[in-house]
């Protein structure tokens, strides 16, 4: 490998979908400038470097590692610790790394429940032998190994120290470019900053003008059962929209697609628990004041965890379902 003086950058994914890698590729023409300015030393989706290439690098040799995805397995823990050690700056990229993301919805289920359903009970599975993935499978005197499946899904900063966060599911190319430019120019804000505007999405929403000054919610509508006015505030039309309590910076893309914000940019810096903040926003705007009327209105929100904590369950105060483990014969991982 030809050593260059360009800053080294690494990209890695944990429990994720690859959408964050696409978001980087979606820099489009700008990616040519990125490639010109930095040396990419690790990026599984696009480049053939292996884990041992990373291991062979001196500590702190990488200027910045952008890690997306939540943390569920021992291998993901190992990889992010390795990247932390090799990098001067570790950036949490996307909702899963920052907050747990969609994969953290699995925290509503116990580990054994998940494994039992996936490998035994799902209607598509035929598994008469009761086989489950094992940490070690013998093969001719050798062993084929699998990482441990931990008890819960965690955000990146629940495993290693994180320097900056780029939010979103996925982050926009504009935010990505701004972050990379700031990084290359050494113009980064204080450590721990989320690199996106620190105001609620409503401030950036093209429908802001039609948002009622005093929001009053009588009932919640489902988007396919309502003829939506494509110009009017979705909350004013009874559609649960996470905009009032979600950080902006997404360019209101879902709203431009005539659908509600589901909260992927997470909370602003003043909020500890994203879901609780949205819940409190809705609760204070609820028009009915009598128990019966309140129940009726809330019946329109059949899945509060999936609505309010769609992306942030791992980073919430409760974090996961807790309960006694019922079975012991699955892969045992050390509890986090």
């Amino acid at each position: 490998m030809n050593p260059t003086s360009k800053p080294k950058v690494a990209f890695y994914w944990c429990a994720s979908c690859g959408g964050c890698e696409e978001a980087v590729v979606d820099l489009a023409e700008d990616i040519l400038n990125v490639v010109e300015a930095v040396e990419i030393v690790f990026w599984p989706v696009a480049m053939d470097f292996k884990k041992q290439d990373l291991e062979a690098m001196p500590d702190r040799a990488i200027a910045a590692a952008l890690v997306n995805g939540a943390i569920r397995t021992s291998e993901q823990e190992e990889m992010v610790r390795l990247l932390r050690r090799k990098s001067q700056c570790l950036i949490s990229y996307g909702a899963c790394a920052q907050l747990g993301g969609i994969p953290a919805l699995a925290n509503q289920f116990e580990r054994e429940e998940i494994l039992r359903y996936v490998y035994q009970e799902a209607p598509s599975v035929i598994n008469n032998s009761g086989t489950y993935p094992q940490p070690a499978t013998p093969h001719n005197g050798d062993t084929v190994t699998l990482p441990a499946f931990r008890n819960s899904v965690r955000a990146l900063d629940q495993v290693v120290e994180v320097d900056y966060y780029i939010p979103g599911c996925p982050p926009t190319p504009a935010l990505t470019k701004a972050a990379l430019d700031a990084l290359l120019a050494g113009r980064l804000p204080p450590r721990g900053t989320v690199l996106a505007p620190d105001v609620a999405l409503c401030e950036q929403c093209p429908r802001l003008e039609s948002k009622p000054k005093d929001l009053s919610l009588d009932a919640f509508q489902r988007p396919h059962r309502t003829a939506l006015d494509p110009e009017k505030c979705l909350l004013a039309q009874g559609i649960p929209c996470m905009g009032p309590a979600t950080r902006s910076g997404c360019e209101a893309l879902c709203i431009k697609g005539n659908m509600a914000c589901t909260g992927c940019f997470g909370p602003t810096s003043r909020v500890l628990d994203h879901g609780a903040k949205i819940l409190s926003c809705f609760a204070s705007a609820l028009a009915p004041k009598e128990p019966q009327g309140i129940d009726q209105a809330l019946a329109g929100l059949p899945d509060p965890v999936g609505t309010f904590y769609r992306y942030s369950l791992a980073r919430s105060l409760l974090r996961r379902k807790r309960g006694p483990s019922q079975t012991q014969h699955f892969i045992r991982g050390n509890p986090p």
Binding site: M1, A15, C17, G18, G19, C20, A28, E29, I31, L32, I40, P44, V45, A46, M47, D48, F49, K50, K51, Q52, R72, T73, E75, Q76, I102, A106, E113, I114, L115, Y117, V118, S124, V125, I126, N127, T131, Y132, P133, Q134, T137, D142, V144, L146, P147, F149, P170, R222, P223, H224, L228, P230, L253, C254, I255, K256, G257, M259, T262, D303, G306
Partner: protein
């Protein structure tokens, strides 16, 4: 099965013996690269250095089938798209169509056309991603190129900056079309039971019509690049068609009523390695035809043809393993529904260098083209 010449440089796993003249007994590829998803390959060699057994392992589980339960049905298109952010549009629309079925509603013609437009646009930009960014560098840059060049950057160096800009620019335009309707291109939000969330403004139509024309030209240009970079190189053709890289399974793809390829709607048709139809079914009947098998060495499950039962990792006409994706799609259909562009699309891989050839062969190296 004979042993393949590795096209990727293989590294010896730590701890494996390479003392003296002994060949390594074990080759580890970790992680697998230039595709969406997490994977590791463990290859065990016999005394002659031939492959004795190989394990393609997926080292993680997220559990969508568990945490999707108990949620409003209309949230599924946006939750299941997170299965894969490289092909979110596929999961989004599969889930949306499931909602049509659940609610027993047919989208109005305009909504159906918007969905098809979005989906076919996705098929084009996603295949361009595969060819130029993910799989293509193996051939365009070359299987023997050093790993730091065997990628999109090396590919642009090889084909030229102008060509690189052309690919990037076309993908951006195609993805902008998806975002126009879907809000976001990664994890679109347009799908609703019986329709879509956003309409097309008539003043935006001419731009999209121009894009369609440019896309056709782009596809034909890509085909030329493929022919020049891959098919014109006898070494590559030998590699692709080598017995070692031939993998005969059943093939599944979606077809219309004339058994032609359809990306958006139709029946799932399965043929065996000899081209004989095994089954044909509507997506809603999937549990009657597909089952999943569990192995102890991977978190991913192995779908197979339920009627045939799990027979292990065997190939041939009787196998219960089936392939999907581009090559399988062509094998499962009798042809494309629209006339081919100049040069012809079908038969490229079945008979490299010719227009016709034996159908129903499987060349995994070409499976995604």
């Amino acid at each position: 099965m004979s042993v393949a010449t590795p096209i990727l440089p293989m590294r010896e796993a730590s701890g494996a013996s390479s003392a003296g003249l002994h060949r390594p007994r074990r080759v580890t590829i970790d992680p697998i690269t230039r595709l969406e998803g997490h994977g590791k390959i463990e290859i065990f060699l016999d005394e002659k250095g031939n492959v004795e057994r190989a394990f393609m392992q997926v080292p993680e589980l997220r559990g969508f089938e568990v945490f999707s339960r108990g949620r409003p049905a209309e949230d599924m298109p946006q939750i299941t798209s997170r299965i894969c952010g490289v092909c979110p549009t596929a999961h989004h629309l599969a889930s949306t169509k499931t909602l049509d079925d659940l609610y027993q509603v047919e989208p109005p013609p305009a909504a159906r056309k918007i969905r098809e437009l979005v989906y076919n646009t996705f098929m084009l930009e996603d295949h361009a991603l595969h060819f130029f960014v993910l799989g293509g560098p193996d051939f365009v840059v070359g299987p023997d190129a050093p790993p730091q060049q065997r990628n999109i950057v090396g590919l642009i160096q090889k084909v030229g900056l102008d060509a690189g800009r052309k690919v990037i620019g076309m993908r951006r335009r195609l993805r902008d079309l998806i975002a126009y309707f879907g809000g976001k291109v990664v994890h679109p939000v347009l799908g609703l039971p019986g329709g879509v969330s956003k309409a097309l403004s008539p003043q935006d139509l001419p731009g999209f019509q121009q894009l369609a024309q440019d896309s056709l030209e782009f596809a034909l240009w890509t085909l030329q690049v493929f022919k020049q970079a891959v098919l014109a190189n006898p070494e590559y053709v030998k590699l692709i068609t080598a017995e070692a890289y031939t993998h005969k399974t059943c093939y599944m793809g979606m077809v219309d009523e004339q058994d032609k390829v359809n990306f958006y709607d139709g029946k799932l048709r399965v043929v065996d390695a000899g081209g004989r139809e095994v089954c044909r079914f509507a997506a809603r009947q999937y549990l009657d035809h597909i089952a999943e098998h569990v192995e102890p060495w991977s978190y991913v499950k192995f779908p197979y043809l339920k009627d045939r039962g799990w027979k292990g990792f065997v190939e041939g006409v009787d196998t219960s393993i089936y392939s999907v994706a581009p090559l399988a799609r062509l094998n499962a259909a009798t042809g494309m529904a629209t006339p081919p562009g100049p040069g012809g699309l079908r038969g490229i891989l079945h008979d490299p260098g010719g227009e016709t050839g034996p159908p129903h062969t499987g060349q995994p190296l070409g499976a995604n083209y």
